[in-house]
Each structure stands twice: as C-alpha cells, then as structure tokens.
C-alpha cells in the first residue's frame, strides 16, 4: 500500500523554530490530488495529440512543396505567419 501523501505547513503565527510541520493530507485533499492526476494525464494526452497533428501537417506540407503539389489551407497555415 502506498504511503499517505504529506504536506508541509508553515504557521507564521507561531514563533520561529515552531512553525513547520509535516502532516498527512486529509481525505478531501487526497481526493483533489487524485482528480488533478487524472486531469493532468488527460491534458498531457491532449497536448501530445495536438503536437502530433501539427507535425503531421508540417510533414505533409513539406512533402507537397518538394513535389510541387498544391497545399491545403490548413497545411499552408503551418508555414505562413
């Protein structure tokens, strides 16, 4: 079983030297933590898919330019600012 995640809390209302404590996350914080992990995985997948699609367009545009074939508007957008 994995260790319970912990947080470091610095309570500035306390005297120096007595402010810092490391304590386990609450059940609510763990639920938020798990939700962030799922969202981050989805975001990363979306980012990778978008990057792959852009690269495919660039590759296709380059091949057509070399061959002298007309580009689609979408392909041209990858070359023209």
């Amino acid at each position: 079983m994995p260790d319970t995640p912990v947080k470091v809390v610095v309570d500035l209302s306390q005297p120096k030297g007595q402010r810092e404590s490391t304590i386990p996350l609450t059940a609510e914080e763990i639920a938020e933590h798990d939700a962030r992990a799922a969202q981050a995985a989805q975001d990363e997948a979306d980012r990778q898919a978008a990057a792959d699609a852009l690269q495919a367009l660039k590759d296709s545009a380059k091949a057509k330019l070399i061959a002298g074939d007309p580009l689609t508007a979408e392909e041209a957008d990858t070359l023209v600012i």
Binding site: V8, V10, R19, R36, A37, R47
Partner: protein, 174 residues
C-alpha cells in the same frame, strides 16, 4: 522601505505533496515569494496551482497567463478556476532533473484601500536540451479578501522533490 525574510522552507527527503503557509502577517504592503521547485515525475515540466485562504469558489480568482513551451509560440491562457496557475515552473526528470524557478508578488495582499489583492508571477523551467524550456508570466486577482494563507500543489499531483524551496518575504514601503 524594508524587505524582510519572513520564513523559508526546504523540502526534506521523501518529498511533499503540498507546501502551505498560514497565519501570514498582515503588517506589510506586499509579499514576495521565491520558489525553486522540482517535481518527481518523468513527464514534461508541470506547474503548480496556488490556492488562497482555502478558496473553493472560482468566482474569487481571475488570472491571465502567457507562456511558451519549447519551440511553440507564446499563447495566453485563461481559465475559470479557484486557483492561480503557476504554469511550467517546476522542473522534472525530463528537464535534466533541474529545479524550476518562480518569483511571485502579492500586491495589496491585505486588501486595503478597497482594492483586491493582485498576483503577479514570472517563472519557468529549463533543461540543457533545446526541447526543454518552459516559461510563463501572469497576473491575477483574488477577490476573497486579504490573503492570510496560501498553498501550492503540483498540477499533475506529483510530489515536490527534496531540496525544493520556498522563501517568503514581506515588503514595507515606509
């Protein structure tokens, strides 16, 4: 003008999932925070989410972020969330195990003069390879009153690695 270190922390072995400051003194004009952060995952450089006063309402947080990642153009980023997004400020294994850096400023954090606190940041993570740079800058407002506490968590729910640090300063004009 005075610039005083309020507190600093360094993450110990094993890492932590959150870094939280509470009981923030309300006797200064601005707060300045320096973060040096590294996540423990091998994925791209993620950022951190910053929550104020345990805020749960997205109505109380607004921000606009500009960022650049590797060779992609800068784009603005906006979201309706209950946190401020410190995009891309933590390093990771894919960033040569470097530490990301961030300077963050809370202006009017005591919500005085009928104004809301303003949050400004700049930061990023940079690896030694050409495909390993991430930078961001942004500004936001917190509408939930004076900032008396904040916490940061990694946006991908990893731990902050050992030797990650946070230094909190208070700035007084007079």
């Amino acid at each position: 003008m005075s610039f005083e270190l309020v507190e600093k922390i360094e993450v110990g072995s094993g890492g932590v999932s959150q870094i939280e400051f509470t009981g923030i003194p309300q006797d200064a004009d601005e707060l300045v925070v320096f973060f040096s952060l590294r996540g423990v995952t091998a994925t791209n450089a993620y950022g951190s989410f910053m929550y104020f006063n345990g805020e749960t309402s997205s109505a109380n947080v607004d921000y606009r972020i500009g960022y650049g990642v590797n060779d992609l153009e800068n784009v603005t980023y906006a979201a309706d969330a209950n946190y401020y997004n410190l995009l891309g400020i933590q390093g990771g294994a894919n960033y040569d195990d470097t530490f990301g850096s961030c300077i963050l400023n809370f202006k009017n954090y005591t919500a005085s003069n009928s104004d809301d606190p303003v949050i400004i940041h700049q930061g990023g993570a940079s690896a030694e390879t050409a495909s390993g740079q991430y930078c961001s800058y942004g500004i936001g407002n917190y509408k939930g009153g004076a900032i008396s506490s904040f916490k940061i968590v990694t946006s991908n729910a990893s731990n902050y690695a050992q030797y990650s640090t946070a230094h909190l300063y208070k700035l007084t004009y007079a």
